[in-house]
Symmetry: C2
């Protein structure tokens, strides 16, 4: 086991102030807005990003509590191996959020369709590219009979230290 | 700026021994195989993962050299802001690989369709779920007229310290 240190490149300003009540995944079509504030040292890296409609935001899930390797996900009623879930209480609490980019104003990214809590540290931003990021013929294990529920389910705080 | 420490949960055994010559993205349909070795402490977290056909592997791009915030991506000929590219030389070199899961044997995940170099430290594994991870009506900036090239382009070592 080796350790790796990452420094945040910015943070999220979000209307969701705590885990409880926050969407568990990006809600498609939502017009609610948040901002990603990028630290000055990294602003140059935003060049050319405005041509992309969707971004992959890697974040540190800073409110997630430590948990065991078996968790009951929001969308299920029985414990699952943590790596078979998207729950935030993971050995390394790194989140993936695919968000919609509305505009860039200097060091601020205005976004919609997010599931990010206010103050979340941002580790990386990548452009979402369907050629790279879509897959066909996917099977989804325990999630197969939970389809469609994610868009209306809110976090109930079970993985958070708020 | 805050620092976050993550410990690897495992590592990759791959036929690609260095960056040069490695696919720049997962090659769909490739039958070449690699293994992800999970450290003993985390094996319990693999429960239920075998029902999923595709995994999101978060890794530390340990061979990436530091670079400026403008890089010329493999698929382009002019420098772009690093956050508008998927180049590995990023402020935080965290990689996202969507791979095909073939089987799980104790602490070993046999995978296909990968772009991972031998020895890559693995930070997290999440199930790929199209409901969460697909987007429609996506625009892709500078990449728009490079479509289709990613599947046949190999890394030329420009971001690596091999």
């Amino acid at each position: 086991m080796n350790s790796y240190v990452f420094n945040s490149i910015g943070y999220v300003n979000s209307p969701y102030l705590k885990a409880e009540g926050t969407p568990i995944q990006s809600v498609k079509g939502s017009k609610e807005q948040a901002r990603i504030i990028i630290f000055d040292d990294f602003i140059d890296g935003l060049k050319d990003l405005d041509g992309f409609s969707h971004l992959i935001v890697l974040s540190c899930l800073h409110k997630a509590v430590k948990s065991s390797l078996h968790v009951t996900p929001f969308l299920d009623t029985v414990p699952r191996g943590i790596f078979a879930t998207r729950a935030p209480s993971r050995p390394n609490p790194i989140g993936i959020s695919i968000v919609k980019l509305i505009s860039i104003e200097k060091n601020m990214l205005i976004i919609e369709e997010f599931d990010l809590i206010d103050g979340t540290p941002v580790l990386d931003i990548k452009p979402f590219i369907p050629d790279f990021d879509h897959r066909e013929n996917v099977t989804v294990g325990w999630y197969a009979n939970k389809k469609g529920n994610a868009q209306r389910t809110k976090d109930d705080g079970r993985f958070s230290n708020d």
